[in-house]
Symmetry: C2
Subunit: 380 residues, 2 copies
């Protein structure tokens, strides 16, 4: 059986978690385990009629040949066309009347049919609708439920070469879109208008626009708004997009006109911090040490009192593994993808920030989508 | 207190439902009750780190001055900038670590602080994360929970002039995007490529692309795929997009070259059915009767055996009120918005379908976005 994920690794993680069955319904985890598949109709919305689309994928430990997928009628064509590996498709009803209870009932039946009514089931408590969870507990009174999220985070922590290629492409596209937005924003554009320009730039590059934090001048308001990007003001564009739910998250700085000497000094403080941290990233580096080093480096720039250093894993979920905080002993491994952020929130100069994405390589790290990080994008 | 929704109507619906507090967290209902507001960062994704963004809006019956909104730190700036009416903002934590349990704990505290610990709370069972619902039940052991979805559906059933203007604009934009896609699709385009063209056409018109059902020739596969739209084949584009979460849903037909006489006959059968049903829509018309009439009309065309007639309300949620089925006695009212769909799935000619959106007016109905419905879009 050809599987699109590392099946022995999943079995081993399930063993550690004490789980007999993995049961996941989030878009990111269905995509991950089904080779990118997700029913296209519900990729971007889920509420319809009085219900919510609730697909559920069940994989018994060591028995992917007994896996099942509870979906709805409308997705059968796509599942066949994309030749999804899951051996049993279970129809939980009509396309336009998705009901989490029906999904849960069908799931409970499938679990019972596999002799697993008293099994330990790892599922996603924060993500399952309350009606689905209640139904599972009612229909499987002998079962024990444990959390699946750490299992799936661990599965996704090291990216395959194919995933790295996706991350490289989307991060580059995000950086390009940001640069073009800085340069093409007409005079007197508001940050809301600038957000719409960025959305089109991302869409034209094949990405789904997810969000942009915009901050013009020293307002500190990061939501797109009626604020005009005035001459002499800095602008930060901290933008996310996705392709097949892989996320990109990049922040670059622009200025209309020229930055003040102090703004430029702050920019360079951020850049120095980013550069030094990137130089420290390699397999074997300890996450807690990297976190402390980033903060120490920012402190050395003298701008730490208004500054923040943030570092987190990236992939199908923002802020996934690896995690960085004081004392975290986990070591970096080749194939991990990391987002590094340094910002300084200066009451007069504005919110100055750089965010990069890097992948851990055999020797160090590879910058993904570094376009525009080394200097201000100037809109003249 | 100036409220962006009909507060006496909400109070009256809560009274009927026996609810003392309304507690909603879905994007469509927060938007509806907060004048379009939703935290921009989480408009298009919600999973981050190990949690999920879970805002909760609470409104005690007859006391909007005691309403509260449980959000996260990052949205305070946007809430202030947009001057959201809700008197109390409660911060449930950091931007990147949303936790449904924290949202529920803060909500329970707010409800207790208002002396409503033993109240009946109307909430959205299918939409609340299981962890949030469990926490609410634990923290409010004396409370009774009832379903809020019918209350909120009733609130949204009749559109305001402002909502009608949004629906008119987005449905027209969807129809235009579909026509341009039919005409601009290059020779040998696959339906996946055609879907991407449509996405750009919608984005350029200010809409978020949500989905497109595509069906080229007689494949009956409605998911975008590697199937090329060949000469002589019909193509249906049944596409949805949104603006501020108001949804549009339009289906138009194209053909590369010319339709066969039978395909054209089927198209006209669909169009005749749509036209006759539209002529019957007006205030006071009974939903069950309209449903029966649509089916009877389709039957008279002689293509009913392979055909389907579907009719449903539209707005912030697809398939919302009014609902149409045999025996439904509810009468149409001015300001309701309705999607009307007729299709015939012919094994040789293909999947031929028209879907229109209309608003009930004082005298009858207004077609929204009728562009391209009367004839095939020809790609030569």
């Amino acid at each position: 059986m050809q599987l699109p994920y590392d099946s022995p690794k999943l079995d081993s993680l399930m063993e550690e978690a004490g789980a007999d069955v993995l049961l996941v319904g989030t878009r990111h985890n269905i995509r991950y385990l089904c080779g990118g598949y997700y029913y296209h109709f519900y990729e971007r919305f889920t509420a319809i009629s009085q219900g919510v689309y609730t697909p559920l994928l069940g994989i018994p430990k060591n028995q992917p040949d007994k896996a099942f997928y509870v979906g709805i009628a409308g997705e059968i064509g796509q599942i066949q066309d994309q030749d999804i590996w899951v051996p049993e498709f279970i129809n939980a009803g009509a396309n336009v009347q998705p009901n989490p209870i029906t999904s849960a009932e069908k799931t409970a039946e499938a679990i019972k049919a596999r002799g697993l009514a008293k099994a330990t089931i790892a599922t996603e408590f924060h993500f399952l609708p309350s009606t689905a969870m209640d139904c599972l507990k009612k229909e499987l009174p002998g079962a024990t439920f444990v959390e699946a999220t750490p299992v799936m985070e661990e599965m996704r922590a090291i990216k395959t070469p194919e995933e790295l290629e996706i991350m490289r492409r989307i991060t580059q596209a995000d950086s390009e879109a940001i640069q073009d937005t800085f340069r093409n924003a007409p005079k007197d554009s508001t940050t809301s208008e600038i957000a719409r320009i960025l959305e089109r730039e991302l869409t034209n590059r094949g990405l789904l626009f997810l969000w942009v934090f915009t901050c013009a001048g020293n307002t500190m308001l990061r939501a797109p708004s009626g604020k005009v990007w005035e001459r002499g003001e800095v602008l930060h564009l901290d933008a996310g997009g996705s392709d097949g739910d892989y996320l990109t998250d990049v922040c670059r700085m622009g200025v209309r006109g020229e930055p003040t000497p102090l703004a430029d000094e702050i920019y360079k403080a951020c850049l120095t911090t980013q550069d030094k941290v990137r130089a420290a990233i390699k397999p074997g580096a300890v996450c807690g040490d990297i976190y402390e080093y980033g903060n120490k480096t920012l402190k050395e720039t003298g701008h730490h009192e208004l500054g923040n250093f943030i570092i987190h894993g990236a992939g199908l979920v923002s802020h996934e593994l690896p995690r960085f905080a004081p004392g975290v002993e986990r070591k970096l491994e080749e194939g991990m993808v990391i987002s590094i952020e340094t910002d300084v929130r200066h009451p007069e100069e504005g919110y100055i920030k750089i965010e990069d994405t890097v992948a851990v390589t055999a020797q160090g790290c590879e910058g993904m989508g570094d376009l525009g990080r080394d200097n201000w994008a100037v809109n003249s």
